[in-house]
């Protein structure tokens, strides 16, 4: 919940600064080692966005797998959330490289005068379908 509040606070600030009145998409990057669950983010997002400028917006989450560098043999390797030992020399003396990301990348926003692109597209596709029938 705290994470989602952080995402929304940063998004609202950026959108307002750019003169936008609505946010349609928020893109974030989350490392697996943060143990943040996408379903929990989604739940918080659905709970916090109604009656805000991000109402109905989509949250797009890019997850990053953990990787580390072994301080003993210098190997860089990917691993899962639990086993981060160096696969070659077995050392636990490793430096985490990726997996702890917690970043808001960009948002898609519109101002009052600009039509919402996605909805406009959907509407035109629907019209095309009906005319063919």
């Amino acid at each position: 919940m705290g994470i989602t509040q952080g995402i929304l606070a940063a998004s609202f600030e950026a959108a307002e600064k750019a003169g936008a009145t609505r946010i349609t998409e928020i893109r974030i990057t989350v490392g697996e080692l943060t143990e943040i669950q996408e379903f929990a983010l989604d739940f918080a997002f659905q709970s916090l966005t109604p009656d805000t400028m991000a109402e109905g917006a989509t949250l797009v989450v890019t997850t990053v797998a953990p990787s580390s560098r072994c301080r003993e043999c210098d190997l860089e390797y990917d691993h899962d959330r639990f086993e981060m030992l160096c696969p070659v020399c077995g050392s636990f003396n490793v430096e985490p490289l990726t997996g702890r990301e917690l970043r808001i990348d960009s948002i898609e926003a519109v101002d009052g005068t600009e039509p919402i692109a996605e909805q406009a597209d959907d509407a035109s596709v629907q019209t095309a379908d009906t005319s063919e029938e």
């Binding site: 919940m1 995402i7 998004s11 950026a14 639990f82 636990f92 003396n93 970043r103 990348d105």
Partner: protein
């Protein structure tokens, strides 16, 4: 329109943490963030630390819990100012909560604030509060395998306290393995073996903390 942000999600927390830190530095107060699981002995360790250092430093405590003011009452009973933060469900403290708690403390009349974070080995790791140092406590009954399961907290801690060493004979705790894993996760962090409620080993930990407090004061050019 696409608006590029490319910034940490916890940006607001980081900014408020920096503000807290500037306030602490201006007042010459050293702030310690104590993290551990529920029941690891955070409050007991804090009380033992207070007993060891209260003649040298003016100390206050900020207690973070989901509910109740049990811990703040315990600390106050020892004549130490304490503020209780109830997070109302949140599993960690954030800078904003600390800022409000600090408003209730006489900052200029303090040398050390100990923050007792919410009992949790995961979430407190990612939230900077503006502290000078994060330190964690693991207690013997929790088991020696915890650094494998929660590596993050062992990596951000400047020191690791191993509490309840007095009950070691009754538990299957492989101290050699524990020490080895902690050292490889965080080669610089000292490990202090203590039994907080008995006062065992507390002096060595307290001296480490005192050295950190004094070094920070010198860094700030404080004469007190």
């Amino acid at each position: 329109m696409e608006i590029d942000l490319s910034k940490p999600i916890l940006d607001r927390n980081e900014r408020l943490a920096a503000e807290n830190r500037a306030r602490f530095d201006a007042a010459g107060v050293f702030v310690l963030d104590m993290m551990a699981s529920p029941g690891a002995g955070k409050t007991s360790t804090i009380l033992a630390t207070i007993a060891a250092l209260r003649d040298r430093y003016r100390i206050a405590v900020i207690e973070g819990d989901i509910a109740s003011k049990v811990d703040a009452e315990k600390v106050k009973a020892h004549g130490i100012p304490a503020v209780q933060i109830n997070t109302g469900g949140a599993c960690h403290l954030e800078s904003d909560m600390i800022r409000r708690a600090v408003d209730a403390l006489p900052l200029d009349e303090l040398d050390l604030i100990i923050i007792e974070n919410v009992g949790n080995l995961v979430c407190p790791t990612d939230f900077n509060l503006g502290e000078n140092a994060k330190v964690m406590i693991l207690s013997v009954p929790e088991g020696h395998d915890k650094p494998y399961k929660y590596p993050g907290i062992f990596q951000v801690s400047e020191a690791v306290i191993l509490n309840k060493v007095d009950v070691m004979p009754y538990f299957d705790f492989d101290e050699e393995e524990f020490t080895g894993v902690v050292k490889s996760l965080n080669p610089k962090a000292p490990i202090f073996r203590i039994a907080a409620t008995k006062g065992e080993g507390v002096q060595a930990w307290a001296e480490w903390l005192a050295a950190r407090i004094d070094a920070a004061k010198v860094g700030l050019g404080s004469t007190s």
